[in-house]
Symmetry: none
Subunit: 211 residues, 4 copies
Amino acid sequence: MSPMPAGGSEKSRARAQAQRARILEAARKCFSEAGFHGASMARIGEQAGMSAGLIYRYFASKAEIIRAITGEQREVRMRAMAEVGSRLELLERIVDKMRDWRTSGGRPGAFDPALFLEVTAEACRDPAIAALVSAQEEETSDDMAQVIEREARTAGVTLSAEALRQHTLLARCLLDGVILRCVRDPGLDLEQVRASLRALVRPLTDQPGPV
Amino acid sequence: MSPMPAGGSEKSRARAQAQRARILEAARKCFSEAGFHGASMARIGEQAGMSAGLIYRYFASKAEIIRAITGEQREVRMRAMAEVGSRLELLERIVDKMRDWRTSGGRPGAFDPALFLEVTAEACRDPAIAALVSAQEEETSDDMAQVIEREARTAGVTLSAEALRQHTLLARCLLDGVILRCVRDPGLDLEQVRASLRALVRPLTDQPGPV
Amino acid sequence: MSPMPAGGSEKSRARAQAQRARILEAARKCFSEAGFHGASMARIGEQAGMSAGLIYRYFASKAEIIRAITGEQREVRMRAMAEVGSRLELLERIVDKMRDWRTSGGRPGAFDPALFLEVTAEACRDPAIAALVSAQEEETSDDMAQVIEREARTAGVTLSAEALRQHTLLARCLLDGVILRCVRDPGLDLEQVRASLRALVRPLTDQPGPV
Amino acid sequence: MSPMPAGGSEKSRARAQAQRARILEAARKCFSEAGFHGASMARIGEQAGMSAGLIYRYFASKAEIIRAITGEQREVRMRAMAEVGSRLELLERIVDKMRDWRTSGGRPGAFDPALFLEVTAEACRDPAIAALVSAQEEETSDDMAQVIEREARTAGVTLSAEALRQHTLLARCLLDGVILRCVRDPGLDLEQVRASLRALVRPLTDQPGPV
DNA sequence: TATGAATGAGGCTTCATTCAT
DNA sequence: TATGAATGAAGCCTCATTCAT
């Protein structure tokens, strides 16, 4: 799959990894701005500071870059959920990220809603992408479950497996929903979103519900 | 905007409308399968049973078709919210739609999550699409508020403006979140989603919250 | 060559001639504005107030319209030279025509330098056009010779055949040159051109020359 | 304007210039034969011995090629006027060029009347071309004035500014007229044109006129 | 490793022309 | 006679990908 030879010195392998990273960074930016189909290899190369031809020494095709970008998303989401103590904290964090995106327009390493949606849309078409995304979703649900368990532990509450699953599902839908709404309505008042979330998210209880 | 002359007989106008509908139907299918930029005019023409050139008698450009498809989404969402009496009923309805999509793969006129996401992703890039989507979002929020007011009336509860706004926001995020999650995880158990929603959505109260 | 049937009543033949004239009038305008290749049959039809398809009942092809337009040019030039008594009068008349063109932008029936050049350029490519133009040139030279003979008669001078030929050549080159220069330099001061021509054109003498 | 990056090694820049030249050479030929709009990029590429796509590495669009060709015309005319000592010499030279064109059909670098007329016709439609042509006309008039001043100096005559302007105008019209007539009438006897010019062009005098 | 020239396929769009009505 | 729907070819241009250097 990868065009890079398995062999080579330690040093050259490190170099190769650095090159791949540069390409992916450039691709992320281009894909975010123009979409997978709208971004050209030439533009990605330019952004990465190399010729388009050279990219093919590190990735077999544009599709492989897309797959790699898709694969990276998992880390971004995981990082976002690590060390978060409650659902509300997590939701507020995503609101912060959305505001960052609106104002600064996407710094490297930050969560990029445009890319997130591009990947999701592509998953509807490319089965390989769909499989990657689906696998990530399960992991992300696990991460979310951990956040909720942490919150429950802090609150001194014990959740049944069923309650945990339901709270996880709800929280995830809310989170994705916030992202989608922010993207679809650039005029959406994020402070109001934050306030609403604060008012609406209740302390965890053992019993299922409520919204 | 439209390349068709204003005049023409009754019959020819009807015919033109039929042709436009055929093209839009074909475009919907192609865009859903391949994305706006992955679908070619040739493919759309083939799907519509006509030459690619003929499409330009009814639409000035591919972009105009994309705009028309985007504009249509509003009707689809509006139809879905009409005559719905409560948030839970609405959410269950969207779950039904997602199951339809998974099984039948998108019938004409039905809500198409792939297209919905394609439009949203495109809104990140094309300001014209962003404006359309943004306008639709406001209308959809109004529709959602009506659903909630209906539910409140039925429950004999009076909602403050603030509470109404918050419930609307929550419900919309949940709804969009359900769509996104279903698309991103084809393995997601829709029956479990339905069950969770039933358990989680509480009767409306005057007070803000809770989730 | 022509798609029109030879038969038909007197009335229908007259009608056909009127239609041809309308088409040619429209084509003249379109060709002048957009060039032979830049003007579409649809646009010509629109300008003529008929469908593009109908044009083919009166002309076998676009090329035939071009040929017809080319053929018309002869009349325009001929009309311009009729009843003109001297070279200077003729040259001043062309200066007037150029000013009309600059200000009014080409009325129907008027001499159109853009069309004149379009035809000339096309003559370099299409042998059929070249033949038409070449034939017209001979006729136009004859017309010019008549103008000069008229001038000589008025001046009481007898020109040798050789002198006549030379004066004709000179006058024609001057005339075409004025047209070309006016087109190529929209800033050219026509009044100065007129003044220069007045100063430069001397009474005819029997002897060859001078300039 | 140019799609080529500014940087690059000495060698690659030289190569790029050579490619541009090859393309322009091919375009000149194609435009001369078929006109700006009749010549296809594919044909130009074929003539230049490269794929049509490659052309876009050296020119941003077909329009840019047209502009480049148009711009070149100035040099061709300028070259023709350099080191010419009199109006008659200049006119005879253009007659020579026309004969070359008729016989050899346009060698690279030679003056091409078909192209000259194509450019002029295009100037009637495209304001960008019109501006280029207009600017060239002024320069060409300056060049012509210099030729005339040279002739006056040789003849020991001092020309007033007004006389200089008038002689320049006359000479230029004659010159353009000769070109136009040669193109429009392929049967025109160039030797007779030459003889007529010789007979008609008189030595310069201080006084305005005569023709 | 790295470049950038080169290609061929394909995309969007226009248009002359034909034909059923 | 007249329309306008319909097509197929062609045009301009872009781009992923390959390859000689």
